[in-house]
């Protein structure tokens, strides 16, 4: 068994020296993800608020102004323009300056007064589906609420059915709370895969790999020796990102930080192994970079980081089972948002560990057969 990992400590020693010699490069590769977290963390808000709205109020009496106030107070609409005819209303939406147009007809108050059913036209720009969905929901809700209030105004009857939704874990629907645990996974993957992706191809370019192959070092010893120093670096990166998330973006961690740190290890292991495999396939450092980029996109789109996995077409849903970030995002959101524990998450961690092992074995086999030399 010891023989299988022969050369491990020597390679570890050497890699640690490389890291120390080139500390500045490393430093920047660790700082960049933090900057990205700041940028994306502040910029992205998945809640839709303050949609630019144009209004054509042909009625203009008290009832119509009350309705507009209600729309304004919903926080969903930002009434930016008031126009006096249909054409201007349309133009405001076509030009893109407003997403929603509200037209209150001349006889709105009259219909209310005579209880003959007042109509309000709501024009919605469908080019962004989430904005459109939010606009439909809120306007419908306001209409319904307004109607009920008027119907029930003269009776003392209570609402027959009162739905009381309660959002667990992220009651204020704060975007960073939802977004940052996923971003954490993507940033970690990014930095760690690149760290190891260069490690072997660099030796290939220098000719030192050939020299290593004439020594009794075993493939697993070589690969793990190269991987482990970067596991420490990846772990340090994780701690920095967690610190920024908790204290700068004020995302509360409901579960155990210790458990999160521990369960992050298999994920770091997978992404470092992936980098090693890339490095063993790549012919040059530039080639390694391209390959690393190819692996990063699926992690963004199929991991559930942006789009929920459950709504994907069957094929892509199955595909997402092969994306390590999908498991890790379940772990981070689980611990950070839902306070999940070991019993809920051990299987995700196990899958990650197995994935990493398989990737590393594939890479080691390439060395065993000296495919790299050919």
């Amino acid at each position: 068994m010891r023989d299988l990992f022969r050369g491990f400590s020597a390679v570890f020693y050497k890699e640690a020296l490389h890291v120390r010699r080139d500390f500045s490069t490393l430093f920047f590769s660790l700082i960049i993800p933090i900057l990205q977290m700041f940028l994306l963390g502040f910029a992205i808000d998945t809640n839709i608020r303050q949609i630019n709205t144009v209004v054509f109020n042909a009625d203009g009496r008290r009832e119509s102004r009350e309705l507009l106030d209600r729309l304004k107070n919903s926080d969903t609409f930002h009434l930016v323009r008031y126009v006096n005819n249909d054409r201007d209303l349309n133009d405001a939406i076509i030009s893109g300056s407003c997403r929603v147009g509200i037209k209150i007809p001349v006889d709105y108050s009259d219909h209310l007064l005579h209880k003959t059913g007042a109509q309000v036209l709501v024009l919605i720009d469908g080019s962004d589906s989430s904005v459109a969905g939010q606009a439909i929901n809120v306007t419908t809700a306001i209409g319904l609420d307004e109607s009920l209030r008027r119907v029930l105004a003269n009776s003392s009857a209570a609402f027959a059915v009162d739905m009381r939704p309660k959002i667990l874990f992220n009651p204020d629907s704060r975007s960073p709370n939802f977004f940052l645990p996923g971003l954490l996974a993507v940033l970690l993957l990014n930095v760690t895969t690149f760290l190891t992706a260069f490690s072997i191809v660099r030796e290939k370019e220098r000719g030192t790999l050939e020299q290593l192959f004439v020594t009794p070092v075993r493939p697993m010893g070589l690969l793990l020796g190269k991987l482990l120093p970067y596991l420490f670096i990846g772990f340090w990166e994780l701690l920095m990102l967690l610190f920024a998330m908790r204290f700068i973006f004020q995302v509360p961690i409901h579960g155990s930080v210790l458990l999160l740190a521990f369960l992050s290890l298999p994920y770091l292991f997978v992404s470092l192994s992936l980098g090693i495999l890339i490095s063993s396939k790549a012919t040059s450092q530039a080639n390694a970079m391209q390959l690393a980029f190819i692996t990063i996109l699926p992690s963004i789109f199929f991991s559930g980081y942006i789009f929920p996995r459950e709504t994907m077409p069957k094929f892509f849903y199955i595909l997402s089972y092969f994306v390590p970030a999908a498991y890790y995002i379940n772990i981070t959101r689980g611990i950070i948002l839902r306070g999940a524990g070991w019993v809920h998450l051990w299987s995700d961690a196990l899958v990650l560990f197995l994935m990493g092992t398989v990737l590393l074995i594939i890479a080691a086999r390439r060395f065993q057969n000296k495919v790299i030399m050919a």
Binding site: A10, R21, Q211, V214, T215, P216
Partner: protein, 323 residues
């Protein structure tokens, strides 16, 4: 494991194919312990491929090889533990210091800390790396890089060391020093397998083989090769004629009966002569023509002569077999 009377390397009918291309075609040779074995041949003739096969980097397509008595096919790891290897471009970690490079290779071979320390001292003593221990390998000149690489290759005290073009791109002084070092180590019983392009280095080897497009066409001690019948046909000998106008001498020499061939080498002409024509007769003949006063002395063929001769014979034979 390896009995003491076994050869350091025994290669039998080695074949290596890359797809349809046969890079090494039925190569056999034997290297005895303590020899400095020079492996020569033009670029692309298969020198490095043979080294890679013997060190277990490339699987054999055919044939057998034993290195230090260990079968390369069966136990390539065992082979790697018992050899040192220095590749063409001195594969050093340039961002590591001299000590760090040595320490790394020492650990790779599993040297205990005490033995590593002892070996470091010995190697530094031998190679004179002392003043550079804390320099980065990148800062060293070619000659020092080469010494460091050799040091890395022999930390684990291998009895056989492969040097793939160890002197390519090295200044003449460093080249001379390296060879002095090789002789010293060889005297301690270490066997060297050296590839080179330099004929003067080939002359220094105790055993040379010449590979030409995948085939070994010469194998033996330099002196034995010089006496090969292909190189020195029976009834002939070589002389060197030194004179002020070598082109003039060449033209005359070719007209004298009894001279088989003549070639210019710098300030002199090398000629192959029949035994029937002795030195005095030759001198007289030259004087007769145009009063050439020349200095004439007998000459042993150089290894370059040997290889040129053997290569042209080999090509002629190939041509004949094809026709």
């Amino acid at each position: 494991m390896a009995a003491s009377d076994q050869p350091a390397i025994s290669a039998q009918h080695l074949v290596r194919r890359f797809g349809a291309f046969t890079a090494v075609n039925d190569v056999s040779f034997q290297v005895e312990k303590g020899e400095i074995f020079g492996f020569l041949g033009p670029n692309g003739s298969g020198k490095t491929t043979v080294i890679k096969m013997l060190t277990g980097l490339l699987p054999l397509s055919g044939g057998d090889a034993a290195v230090q008595g260990i079968d390369v096919r069966k136990d390539s790891e065992g082979v790697r533990e018992n050899i040192g290897y220095m590749s063409q471009n001195f594969s050093l970690y340039t961002d590591l210091t001299v000590t760090e490079n040595l320490t790394f290779y020492g650990r790779i071979y599993g040297l205990s800390p005490e033995r590593l320390k002892k070996r470091l001292d010995e190697i530094v003593q031998l190679n004179g790396l002392g003043p550079y221990l804390n320099h980065l390998a990148a800062e060293l000149s070619g000659g020092w890089k080469q010494r460091l690489a050799l040091g890395c290759a022999m930390l684990h005290e291998p009895k056989l060391i492969f040097l793939d073009e160890p002197t390519a791109g090295i200044d003449p002084v460093a080249r001379r020093q390296l060879w002095d070092l090789l002789f010293e180590l060889s005297a301690h019983g270490i066997t060297f397998f050296v590839t080179t392009h330099y004929m003067d280095e080939a002359e220094r080897c105790s055993h040379v083989a010449y590979i030409y497009f995948g085939k070994v066409i010469a194998d033996g001690t330099p002196d034995a090769l010089r006496e090969l019948p292909e190189v020195r046909p029976v009834g002939t000998y070589r002389v060197e004629i030194t004179a002020p106008h070598v082109t003039h001498v060449l033209r005359i020499a070719r007209t004298i009966p009894g001279i088989r061939s003549a070639t210019i080498f710098g300030q002199s002409v090398h000629v192959l002569i029949d035994d029937t024509l002795d030195l005095d007769q030759l001198r007289a003949q030259l004087l007769e023509h145009d009063h050439v006063v020349a200095e004439i002395r007998p000459l042993a063929p150089s290894l370059e002569d040997v290889f040129v001769e053997l290569t042209s014979k080999h090509l002629a034979a190939q041509e004949a077999s094809r026709a």
